[in-house]
Symmetry: C2
Subunit: 158 residues, 2 copies
DNA sequence: GCCCGGTTACTCGGATATATAGTGTCCGAGTCCGATGGG
DNA sequence: CCCATCGGACTCGGACACTATATATCCGAGTAACCGGGC
């Protein structure tokens, strides 16, 4: 799994902690965690395309949350960055080769291996879908209450 | 996720369907599904290292199941091929950059993002751990009863 | 003092390089089978 | 006919290329703010 997911989640959380409606430039968001600004920008574009962020061009421009953190699930973020292709891709090798030739059964029924993998993957996705950014933020706030002010101070415009 | 996982699962199932204790060469197993023989061999070595297969060198050599299919979980296979590193790797970027500097809280408590991702990943792994190769085989047998004989015919020594 | 136009600086967005991991291939070490020659 | 020995062929195991993906960077299009001049 790509590193961009971690960056995206933390960036979204930072925007939520900031609480302002003013857009924040990608450079500032990157400086908050010492990330490569241009590459973070690339990931943020994916979030814009997925509808999680809205972007504002020009001076005083930047990114802001497109909707409340309570309405953004972890699955939304993962899908936005990694894409929606499944972790396990079944290439139907059961139909190929000597064994596939011999087995003249109908291949309309789903591959059992694929089903097993999909079941596990569904459990993963459902867990991610059941957790919103607001939930994650609440845990962080409970453990270290000063994080919100730290973000506001760290992202203060230079 | 690598393609080797699919190959490994199908190969293990084929060995289970064969039911023989004689080792089967990687070349024959590869021919069963039109896979690159040398590359499949590479994956099978990982299964040997993980203790799922045992290998026999020399003529009439090959691979055989090291233990019953009921004692091999899907998680065992995935871990053997893909490695045991987690899907989501937390690099603790919360400690870096301007925000990390401002937040002088204790970082001994786990990162909330990491916890959230780990929760989902645990659900995935538990689902995989709860399904054995014998379970998958049972589903396949139920849907298409002729698959066992097809495998025995397709893997017949030339 | 107020309004308007040009300039400037700043931002996102996508096109372009580099590094890393996945994919695929090849050759050598070891082992067993079978042929061969002798008893 | 039986047995020991040698040769050969087959197998796994790991070392060696190639390709696709992820990572990182750079430059251009567009826009809003700012400054200067005119009314």
């Amino acid at each position: 799994m790509g590193q961009g997911v971690e960056w995206a989640v933390h960036t979204l959380l930072n925007l939520d902690w900031l609480g302002t409606s003013d857009p924040v430039p990608a450079a500032d968001l990157a400086a908050g965690h010492d990330l490569p600004p241009a590459y973070l920008n690339k990931q943020l574009q994916l979030l814009v395309k997925a509808g999680l962020l809205s972007s504002v061009p020009g001076p005083r421009g930047g990114f802001r949350l497109a909707r409340s953190s309570a309405q953004i699930s972890m699955l939304d973020v993962v899908d936005a960055i990694e894409g929606t292709e499944p972790l396990f891709r079944c290439t139907e090798i059961r139909q190929c080769g000597a064994i596939g030739q011999c087995a003249d059964g109908d291949f309309s029924i789903p591959c059992a291996v694929k089903s097993s993998m999909n079941r596990a993957e569904s459990a993963w996705r459902e867990s991610l879908a059941g957790q919103t950014l607001a939930d994650v933020r609440a845990v962080a706030d409970a453990h270290s209450p000063g994080v919100a002010s730290a973000v506001r101070q760290g992202l203060k415009r230079r």
